[in-house]
Amino acid sequence: MPIAFNPRGGTGVLASGIWTAAAGASAQSQMVDAVANNLANTDTLGFKKDQPTFREYLTTLEREHVPMDVPRNPVKDKDFYPLDGRDQAFVIADATYTNFRQGNLRVTHNPLDVALDGPGFLEVSTPSGIRYTRQGSLKMAMDGRLVTPEGYPVLAAQPGGLANALPAAAVQPGQGWPLTQGGVTAGQGRTPAQIAAEAAVAQRYINIGDKGTRVSIGASGEMYAGEDLVARLSVVEFNEPRKLRKQGGQLFVNPDPQNVNVGEQRTVMRQGVLETSNVNPVEEMTNLIKANRMFEHDLKSMKTYGDMMGKETDIGKL
């Protein structure tokens, strides 16, 4: 229940003060929401924790700049602070950012488990387009295709490297990869470039056939089934990972194609290892206690403001 607050609410000095406290309580409750989600995902493979950031919100900034008639009238102090005593510094939960620090690695000895040591992501094809994940517990579908546990095909690297991975016609800034396989009927509302891009994605599916238990994966993602090189896993690094958007199921959406790092890759693949969640329970419990206490303090000041307003009306009775 995020407490709604209206920065312009209130009638007098006291009344607007109570909104400052309410804003604080609202921000702290968002903090608890984030902690709850992080702690619920302490055992989720490849999960990256979220951290809310708070920002001071000045009502001063809501007012338009008014030019003063300096030459004609003598300037008074209050002309510089045209706030009518309502200069309030609210707090708002400004952003949540995802912490992409590497999670702990857990050795499983399962040949289809892959951990990415470094900043890269695996590329998977979902019905709504290309998504990125660090969840490395891969599976084989019945036709031998390498998939995520949800059944999304894992993609092989682009033949010409990542520099060739950006088809100019198919990508427009802000739209991400406009690639779809299911859901959208072929040819409807899509340009030929998009359809060609989809076909290119389908060619990058990895098929291991029936060689499942004899798969070996090298440090730079080469997959061997028996002695045959099947494919190279596509690992994508981003210039600015914070631009990625979470989608659930440990999948990330990249909204900006220019964000892909086409330079040298630093990520190393480790077979038989899984990356666990990067949630640190001690840190989260500390945040939880802190948010809980701050919330209580905010409520206390709300109550105090409320009591004071009660006293205001009492004055008239004297």
């Binding site: 229940m1 984030a34 055992d43 579908a141 019945m142």
Partner: protein, 260 residues
């Protein structure tokens, strides 16, 4: 705070599913050919309160947005078909598969199932059956006057017949699956194929990557007790932390109600 409550509740149900899996593994620590399970979690969808990369003026964008997570769910539970340790029994009817593959058996109700449990017995007619009565396919009948039985690594079953010398009476077939984790465990160490596992691929033991047969041995459970105990500890603590969050959300809600 209602979100924090339901998020914590999703954490509780996911962790309790994990405890159920761990307790099943530990209960089967001495079950021959038992395969340990794995529970995989996935984060739920996110509510995007503010889009990252939104335009906030000419040429500048918000670098990060606000996304609120909804919790966790159990994404998958499946078996890890890692080889279990060999246990020598010196019982001539026991066989163990070294490597990949499953033995096909016919259940008493006529259905076909696949198992890695090679603890066979002879029934009154000399047929090789599992303790639940499932018969090995292709059917092998040991003649009543046979002396001894040898199963080669390649799955050939030989017996000594008095006066006739050695005779081959059967050949064990192994079945592989493209995706063995897609098999459905039906209990009693039996598995049945699903649309996810694909159809069984038949092979001769020791050829083309199929496992070899080892007579007089059984495959033990592949449950790793120390790992399961560690799993249990982390799961219990994760459960506790989620109840803590629930408590805090409840306290905050109560405190809000009591402001006035």
């Amino acid at each position: 705070m209602i979100r924090a409550l339901t998020t914590a509740a999703s954490g509780l149900s996911a962790q309790s599913a994990n405890i159920e899996r761990i307790s099943n593994d530990l209960a089967n620590v001495n079950t021959d050919s038992y395969k340990r399970g794995r529970t995989e979690f996935q984060d739920l969808m996110y509510e995007t309160l503010k889009e990252p990369g939104g335009q906030i003026g000419a040429g500048s964008q918000t670098p990060v947005g606000i996304q609120a997570g909804m919790g966790v769910k159990v994404g998958a539970t499946y078996k890890i078909f890692e080889q279990g340790p060999a246990r020598m029994t010196y019982n001539i009817n026991d066989m163990m598969i070294e490597g990949t593959g499953f033995l096909p058996v016919q259940l008493p109700n006529g259905e076909i199932a696949y198992t890695r449990n090679g603890a066979f017995h002879r029934d009154s007619q000399g047929k090789l059956v599992l303790s639940n009565g499932a018969q090995l396919i292709p059917q092998v009948t040991i003649p009543s006057n046979a002396l001894g039985m040898q199963i080669s690594n390649g799955g050939e079953i030989k017996v000594q017949l008095p006066g006739q010398g050695e005779a081959v009476i059967g050949q064990i077939q192994l079945m592989n699956f493209v995706n063995e984790q897609g098999l459905r465990a039906v209990g009693e160490s039996l598995y049945q194929p699903t649309a996810a596992s694909g159809q069984p691929l038949q092979g001769i033991p020791g050829e083309n990557g199929y496992g070899m047969i080892q007579q007089g041995a059984l495959e033990g459970s592949n449950v790793n007790v120390p790992n399961s105990m560690v799993d249990m500890i982390t799961t219990q603590r994760a459960y506790e932390m989620n109840t803590k969050v629930m408590g805090v959300a409840d306290q905050m809600l109560g405190a809000t109600v009591n402001v006035k």
